[in-house]
């Protein structure tokens, strides 16, 4: 609209509106301040207090989480403080004999000869099925094994005792096949081993105490035929330094990744 188009009536209307506005302002001016205060209060409630409440609740949640973490850490600390390093080393040593971290040929041969001498069963030929010598199962949950075929000489009763004793001997074994005959007996035994898991233990991970069954098992192992130390004296001419995979027999030589006579590989 151009200024030339504004008529006198319009100007009058404008003046009238202004007057009306002024009248209304004078009439309600006392209401303006309380209404503004209420409006501002509501605005503070919506834009400040509600986010502040949310922040408070989230901080409260964070505090709960941190408290739980702190309790866990304190429990871990108390638990670990009460552990004795030499006892742990001894337990780990025992368990590493029961389930070696690598192919423990010394342990296997010693276990067989010890059980043999204990039960009066004489060992004929034996052969190892070694398989892959690289530790490709590292970190997995599976327990690889070495299969050993044994020829035994003895009556069925002593063979039975031999088998029972073998199940109470380190390393842990599983008998897959038993053939008892008049000429002799043949058994197929799996000797288990398992590489140590990767050392990525977080300090904040929960430490679960050993259960009663864990403690019982640890106690049971102390009575097992666990005689790795005697290996060299029983087999003074046993050559354990060859690295060719394949079959091993009692009159030949054994092969291993890195067997440590008289002990186990340290994980540290």
């Amino acid at each position: 609209m151009d200024i030339k188009d504004i008529k006198l009536e319009d100007v009058k209307d404008l003046n009238m509106d202004k007057g009306l506005l002024l009248v209304n302002y004078r009439k309600y001016k006392d209401f303006i301040l309380p209404l503004t205060v209420i409006f501002v209060s509501v605005a503070i409630l919506v834009f400040v207090l509600i986010p502040q409440a949310n922040q408070y609740l989230s901080q409260r949640g964070q505090l709960d989480t941190e408290n739980q973490k702190l309790t866990l850490l304190k429990n871990n600390y108390n638990f670990l403080s009460n552990l004795d390093q030499p006892t742990l080393d001894s337990q780990l040593g025992t368990l590493s004999k029961v389930l070696p971290p690598d192919k423990d040929f010394v342990g296997i041969v010693t276990a067989i000869t010890t059980v043999s001498s204990k039960t009066g069963v004489s060992i004929g030929d034996f052969s190892f099925v070694v398989g892959n010598l690289s530790n490709n199962s590292n970190g997995s949950n599976s327990s690889p094994n070495i299969e050993v075929q044994l020829t035994l000489k003895g009556d069925p009763k002593s063979i039975s005792t031999f088998l029972l004793e073998l199940y109470k001997t380190a390393p842990v074994v599983e008998i897959k096949k038993v053939q008892v005959g008049a000429q002799g007996s043949t058994i197929s035994v799996l000797f288990y081993y398992k590489p140590y898991p990767p050392q990525n233990v977080g300090d904040a991970s929960p430490v679960i105490p050993l259960t009663a069954s864990d403690n019982k098992l640890l106690g049971d192992f102390s009575s097992w035929n666990n005689i790795t130390q005697q290996a060299q004296s029983l087999f003074p001419n046993l050559n354990l330094n060859q690295s060719t995979p394949g079959s091993i027999n009692s009159s030949g030589s054994a092969s291993s990744t890195s067997p440590q006579p008289g002990g186990t590989t340290s994980p540290f």
Partner: protein, 177 residues
Amino acid sequence: MNDINLVSGRSLDIEKQAKRLKLLRIFAILSLLIVALVSIFFFIFTVSLPINSVKQNEQQTLSNISGLHKRLASYVLIKDRLTSIQSLIQKRTNYPQVVNTIISMVDPQLTVQSFDIEAGSITITITGGSLTPINQFINDMLNLANNGKLIKNLSIQSLSFSGAVNKYTLVMQSDLL
């Protein structure tokens, strides 16, 4: 005499408006107070949350634990070994127990000619000069099967007599539980 209205309509309006204004003012002051109080309440509670002290404690405990890291690592390895060994022991075959139980049931008058266990199946061949201990052995094996201990079934594959050696030969087969 007619009633005379001393209060004009305009005065009533003013009074009504004054009342409204008063209420509005009270409401405004109350809302301002509530907002202020709530704001102070949240401020105090947020400030008083001991997150920093808890975090400091955590750091302190963590630094204490780091001194025990070797113990932690040993313990974790022990736990891992125990879990693995337990699982192996639980799932391995109970052949030694089976062999021992069955061999102990064989009468001294009998001879175990062969005894094979593989893939959950047993085959046993025994010989003897008399049928009585053979019968006893069969009964004992049947009891094992009936009681659901170690074996789940039993079948006699053959019972023969050899006149040359004057001996009976029994061949039995059974499946393990």
